[in-house]
Amino acid sequence: MSAKTWTPTPARPAPANTVGFVGWARENLFATKFDSALTVFCAGLILYVLDVVFGWAIVDASFSGEDRNACLKQVQGACWPFIDAKLGQFIYGRYPEMERWRVDWVFALGLLGLVPLLMPKVGFKRANVIFMLGFYPLFSFFMLTGGSFGLVPVETSDWGGLLVTLVVAVTGIVGSLPLGILLALGRRSELPIVRALCVGFIEIFRGVPLITVLFMASVMLPLFLPDGVNFDKLMRCLIGVALFASAYMAEVVRGGLQAIPKGQYEAAAALGFGYWKTTRLIILPQALKLVIPGIVNTFIGLFKDTTLVLIVGLFDLLGIVQLHFTDSSWATPETHITGYAFAAFVFWVFCFAMSRYSIFMEKHLSTDPNQ
């Protein structure tokens, strides 16, 4: 009996119209008549917008020139020479040109410390944190303000542009997180006075617009101070922004604290942990991880809110771009559109980076085995 072994015929390839790009498109873009119509409409819209943006930013744009005459064509797109001529101003403000290397050093060292700190795989975290929170702020302070170590003093009223935006945002971010955590813990504390103080602080600062806080700091404060005592304007704003952001941060963190099941507290108590040990080792690590999106959301909001310092006479990136619109040697119909586009792009880059990093951290810290 000759054994006839059954061999299956090799699987035929899937129909050509269900694999590859065609298959993907059929399934996702043209599954029904309605889908097809939507796809065509959206593709048209995207192409139209791209065409307009491309035409404005590249085809009709001016790329070189010394003054407004470069941007007065019949059909004029973006006026890039304006950005080019003013770029130094947009980054450093009126920081003296001879001293700009100091700002560069602060930027460079910040980047050098921040990048390894943000990458979970790189070691030396403790040393890095001490460097970034201990040495770096002092270094930046002495470098930027000068007046010691043989550096020429540079008053904060001469700072501007991206420098001010970053100083305000970073100080606000770094200051608001620990302060916010303390406030959140205080609000849930069982000590009545601590709780009342924290609730009062949070509700007052959350109930008042940032613009009012800044305005009070810049207009009202000098009237109450004795004659001759003059707080640095930037310092007033830094404190105002940090306090304001910490009130929001406190509420975000409180959300995380409330989400921790009671069992965690009880388990910690069963192990003989006291309040601080429980908070530090059990509660906060879980609570903060839960609210990463909320924290980053607050950071991004804070970063964009820094533009409000304009009203107290400090020129952040947006403020200094607007200030330079008034330079009549660059006044054209396109100048302010170009300037706003530039400022928007810079803000977007920073905010987008923060947002992507938060997604990365969420995934990295996730303990959910399904992810």
Binding site: S218, L310, S328
Partner: protein, 344 residues
């Protein structure tokens, strides 16, 4: 509750006393002395206004108001660079001068009775006569604002501009329609797109806004000025010698123009036999010392920024992108309002 109320009242009294005491405290200190001791002048300027105070590509402040402060610095220190500019928003400017944050404000501020009498400040002099005007398309064939009957006007919301225009049209029995926008950029864009027949705002701003039109040459600014906006520097009330110094800094530049002294010919003019020129340049008499300055005060001013005509032409004149005519800011001898009392 009683306690709380007492505390509140106490705080308010304290605050009020503080506010009231402020100008008196400031007046006691001689501003010139403070400035000299500090080594530089603190000058409040606007947060950017074309031709008046605006930063160039390297961030140096330029403009008529900026030159005014440079002139004072030159008069005091013989060095126009010894001045620190503080950009002030419209809201915080009066606090800044009252609290002593700045010594002088040159910030295109209109001299009005309310401000002069109620805010604890003084306006020593007018360095630019501004006023509301109209801009129209050249091909409209209009040469006077009186021909604007039935026109649609673009302007900014909630400003005196709107009221001034209404008054002017009513007074001249003309029909009009106002389209008001929140921001200057919006109104000029609307005018540019043909939404209105005319655009109205302050004269100096009209020229600045004109540059933002797609074809600036196709538009003209009409000669009529329908409101009074005398712009000048302001100082704290109560220090009249500082007031004098600011006033005469401006008059020195006007007198120099009248006498034909410029930043370029100043050394040649020192040989002049004209007694007025000799008094201005400190060759006869000692007018500078009465201001607490050196004999050379006017020479220092003129070397640093030039006479009024030079300042005007350099910052807003016909050769700049703004291209503003002298108009009412011409010397009184040429039909304008700029007039300096004699130096004698």
């Amino acid at each position: 509750m009683q306690m709380f109320r007492k505390l509140c009242v106490g705080f308010m009294v304290l605050a009020a006393a503080n506010l009231l005491a402020m100008p008196a405290v400031q007046a006691a200190g001689e501003t010139l002395e403070i400035v000299t001791k500090r080594g530089h002048l603190k000058c409040g300027v606007s947060q950017g206004l074309p031709g008046f105070s605006t930063p160039d590509n390297r961030g140096n402040w330029t403009g008529i108001d900026v030159d005014f402060c440079k002139a004072i610095a030159a008069a005091i220190f013989n060095d126009p660079s010894k001045v620190k500019f503080t950009p002030l928003s419209a809201k915080e400017r009066f606090t800044a001068i009252q609290s002593g944050e700045v010594d002088i404000i040159a910030r295109n501020t209109t001299w009005s009775m309310h401000r002069d009498t109620a805010l604890g400040i003084d306006f020593p002099v007018v360095n630019y006569y501004d006023g509301q005007g109209f801009m129209v398309r050249a091909d409209l064939g209009v040469t006077s604002a009186l021909e604007l009957d039935g026109a649609t006007l673009c302007t900014n919301q909630g400003t005196t501009t709107e009221l001034n225009a209404a008054d002017y049209f009513r007074a001249n029995g003309m029909q009009y329609e106002i389209v008001a926008f929140e921001k200057a950029d919006e109104s000029i864009a609307a005018y540019n797109s043909g939404r209105c027949d005319a655009y109205t705002t302050d004269h100096s701003a009209l020229y600045a806004q004109k540059l933002k039109l797609s074809q600036p040459k196709a538009h003209i600014v009409l000669p009529e000025i329908i409101s009074k906006e005398p712009l000048g520097p302001l100082v704290r009330q109560g220090d009249s010698s500082w007031n004098d110094l600011v006033r005469w800094t401006h008059y020195a530049t006007v007198a120099a123009e009248e006498l034909g002294v410029t930043s370029k010919n100043i050394d040649k003019m020192k040989a002049s036999s004209n007694p007025s020129v000799r008094r201005l340049l400190g060759l006869d008499g000692s007018f500078g010392s009465n201001l607490g300055l050196s004999k050379q005060w006017a020479v220092n001013i003129l070397r640093a920024v030039g006479n009024y005509g030079e300042i005007f032409e350099r910052n807003v004149g016909v050769k700049t992108p703004l291209g503003i005519q002298r108009g009412v800011n011409a010397l009184w001898t040429k039909g304008g309002l700029q007039y300096a009392p004699p130096i004698r």
